[in-house]
């Protein structure tokens, strides 16, 4: 049975696209058939993060509008053969997407894949609303910082009221992915701690992704951290999160690239 997962946040720049790509790779490497779908129409980026920017010919809008078949628009990853990408349009705007069209495309994707991961645009307007509309479950990406937590709270409210699942009276499963986490600053008391964020948002924790320069390097190369640097701290954190998505129980660890005292201090279990 296919799972449609939306990666959303409200606030911009918190790590939705990075997380979509990294989790997509991790799930696909475990043998699952995965498609990652870019809903950020007009400002597409998932193709760049995946290193597929030179392969995009047709996009989500072409498929929604019937100008291309789904099979023509799906870009099969050259490194992980169970992973595909459906890019957003760079030249159109989100008004070219209709609810009916998105519902139809998501329905077609459900038949071909085990996981359909939707990379939401920032904000709470039409683009974000469409990305979450037909999802079965959500990953709420949050940075440990006041405005991000507030926006996540707003998004959680929308997930519980505006999605097709919510409208049918069903419960939307939501999990928190805390990204750009800096254990040193958290310990110093200058950053919200995991427990603080969890208490405020009261949804279960999917993972803690440390702030790491490996993420920047990965985007330069067009290869998500889980592929380009699989033993790095953020990659290990994403692999753990992907296992939890599949229902496995994995101890919650703040992974660290530092091998010295700090690494030992902060690489310990936190839950």
């Amino acid at each position: 049975m296919a799972e449609v997962l939306v990666v959303t946040s409200g606030k911009g720049g918190v790590g939705k696209t990075t997380s979509t790509a990294s989790l997509g790779v991790a799930l696909a490497q475990s043998g699952q058939k995965v498609v990652i779908v870019d809903f950020d129409v007009g400002l597409r980026n998932l193709d760049l993060i995946m290193g597929a920017e030179r392969r995009v010919v047709f996009d989500l809008i072409n498929v929604v509008q019937g100008d291309a078949k789904l099979a023509q628009a799906l870009i099969r990853d050259k490194r992980v053969d169970t992973l595909s990408l459906l890019a957003a349009s760079q030249t159109r705007d989100k008004d070219a997407l209709s609810e009916e069209g998105v519902e139809r495309v998501i329905g077609e994707l459900r038949e071909k894949f085990d996981w359909v991961i939707c990379d939401s645009p920032a904000g709470i307007e039409k683009g974000a609303a469409l990305a979450m509309k037909y999802a079965d479950r959500a990953v709420v990406v949050t940075n440990p910082e006041v405005s991000s937590v507030r926006d996540s709270d707003r998004i959680i409210g929308l997930l519980d009221s505006k999605t097709a699942k919510a409208e049918r009276g069903e419960r939307m499963e939501k999990q928190l992915l805390l990204t750009r986490y800096d254990p040193v600053r958290a310990e110093r008391g200058d950053m919200l701690k995991t427990d603080d964020v969890l208490e405020i948002l009261s949804i279960p924790l999917l993972g803690i992704i440390p702030d790491s320069e490996e993420v920047l390097k990965a985007s330069n190369l067009g290869s998500p951290v889980t592929l380009s640097s699989p033993t790095s701290a953020p990659a290990r954190a994403y692999f753990d999160a992907a296992k939890r998505l599949r229902g496995e129980t994995v101890p919650m660890t703040v992974h660290s690239d530092k091998s010295g005292l700090l690494g030992r201090l902060f690489g310990r279990r936190v839950a």
Binding site: L48, R54, R55, F58, R76, D81, Q90, L221
Partner: protein, 88 residues
């Protein structure tokens, strides 16, 4: 490898710069909408991609405007059979 190869070997920024240069030179021309070669390239690519899975850079379109006549050069590098099968 140069003497300082060990310093530059692992840097990723040059890769990012190259990727952006290739991508943006095309996007600017096409999104601007007034570059005939870019528009032709995009539409020709779409016609081909409807039937064959092909990478963007395998379709090259060159427009040469001369005094008395202009030429439109279209160069398509066909994927191998294996590549076609892999993407089917």
């Amino acid at each position: 490898m140069s003497l300082f190869g060990f310093l530059t070997r692992r840097s990723t920024a040059p890769v990012a710069r190259d990727r952006l240069q290739i991508l943006l030179s095309h996007e600017r021309a096409f999104v601007g909408g007034n570059d005939l070669a870019a528009t032709l390239q995009e539409e020709i690519l779409r016609v081909i991609a409807k039937h064959i899975a092909i990478d963007r850079d395998k379709v090259k379109v060159n427009l040469d405007r001369g005094e008395s006549f202009s030429t439109l050069e279209i160069d398509v590098e066909m994927p191998t059979d294996e590549e076609v099968r892999a993407r089917a």
